[in-house]
């Protein structure tokens, strides 16, 4: 609401009650500020906000139909471009979760990495999660899921932007020939990224 003072024009000589009424009006205004008191382009900064963070989910999926003989011990199994551009604030990885509908022998494992495809090869820049085990839930070949890590923004893994395009990938790190052999089975990895809201 618009600020008002009861005595924009004072009597002469000054009446102390008029002065005090104006002081009280201004004092009362503090604690009752609302959006109309801000200029239309007030430019409140991220640092002035108590809760400035947004999330983005990056989905990576490996399906049985894509594998020749179960879960491999190496190679890029899924990839997703890293969202955003270098003029934005970089994201932090704050969680990695996985689900699998055919865990096989429970020994397959994967890395989650940020990197670049250069001259036909993947060059890792940051390891987000290492040797994540696709463990059995209760028995061989059953379904299971896991949370590799969950962190606050302050403790998240920084993922810097670079001039090169970058991708977040799942990389096989330990083989299990019986994982993802059932038709229709899959491994789905969800990487939660977090950063402050952007001004542009």
């Amino acid at each position: 609401m618009t600020a008002t003072i009861p005595y924009g024009t004072l009597t002469d000589p000054i009446d102390r009650e008029e002065i005090m009424a104006n002081f009280r009006a201004l004092a009362a205004k503090l604690g009752a500020l609302d959006t109309s008191d801000l200029t239309a382009s007030a430019g409140i900064t991220v640092a002035q906000m108590a809760s400035p963070y947004q999330d983005a989910f990056v989905h990576l999926e490996v399906r049985a139909e894509a594998l020749a003989s179960g879960w491999p011990g190496s190679g890029i199994l899924a990839a997703a471009p890293y969202p955003g551009i270098s003029t934005n604030e970089a994201w932090k990885a704050v969680a990695v979760h996985w689900a699998c509908t055919d865990t096989g022998g429970g020994t397959g494992a994967f890395n989650v990495k940020l990197g670049t495809f250069v001259s036909g090869n993947f060059v890792s820049a940051t390891t987000i999660a290492s040797s994540v085990l696709i463990s059995n839930g209760a028995a061989a070949n059953d379904s299971n899921s896991g949370a590799e890590f969950t962190k606050t923004y302050a403790n998240g893994t920084g993922l810097s932007f670079a001039a090169d395009p970058r991708s977040i990938v799942i990389q096989g790190s330990s083989a299990d020939a019986s994982t993802l052999t059932a038709q229709g089975s899959f491994v789905h990895v969800c990487v939660t990224l977090r950063r402050a809201v952007q001004e542009s």
């Binding site: 379904s143 899921s145 606050t152």
Partner: protein
């Protein structure tokens, strides 16, 4: 902006115009506040913003090549485990805000599914239903879609009421009714996109 008083020093016998000018300085400042009027770490709460929500997308996909004989009568068709909260409990609640499916081969239109919240427990999916739908035929052609949860920011908290929060939980598409002709064409797919919403977070 910084408030500057026109008369930072008053006359020994105060002149009314000096006072009037100073009051006007303060009044004008109150109705033209900018970032500079707040401390660098003012901790302005999200709920003080008119636009305070973030949206994220969860995709649940089923491909024809994954199915032996069209849409089955049961089973986990797709699942995404993700992060409603971190290790602390003071994040804002997450809600399923929007859910929309599309299908490029609905077959006879008899396939049904349940959208559930849950987790894999000792080898099997354990979940609770959020919504269900039929991959219905529109009467002709192969393609169809349905926007079965729309702009609902309060009905579907994640996790649902009664669930204890755990880190390895998420959303899944569970087949509940078979249609052998659905997703029987090579390359066809069923995809359900869920939009989850919550207020910006401080963690």
């Amino acid at each position: 902006m910084t408030v500057t008083l026109t008369n930072d020093s008053l006359s020994a016998i105060v002149d009314k115009s000096e006072m009037e000018a100073n009051f006007e300085d303060l009044r004008a400042a109150y109705e033209a506040l900018t970032s500079e009027d707040f401390r660098a770490k003012a901790s302005i709460r999200t709920r003080q913003f008119a636009a305070r929500y973030q949206h994220s997308r969860i995709d649940l996909c089923v491909y024809a090549e994954a199915l032996a004989a069209g849409w089955p009568a049961s089973g986990v068709m797709a699942a995404v485990i993700f992060k409603p909260r971190v290790e602390t409990d003071d994040l804002e609640d997450l809600f399923l805000y929007d859910a929309h499916w599309c299908c490029t081969d609905f077959g006879a239109g008899a396939g049904t599914f349940s959208l559930q919240w849950g987790s894999f427990e000792t080898g099997s999916w354990v979940g609770t239903q959020i919504a269900s739908d039929t991959i219905a035929t529109p009467g002709a052609g192969l393609y169809n879609e349905e926007h079965f949860i729309q702009n609902d920011g309060s009905t579907y908290p994640l996790p649902p009421s009664g669930f204890t929060q755990a880190d390895n939980m998420g959303l899944a598409i569970i087949a509940t009714g078979a249609d052998a002709a659905a997703l029987s064409n090579q390359g066809s797919l069923f995809r359900c996109t869920c939009i989850v919403r919550r207020e910006l977070t401080g963690q």
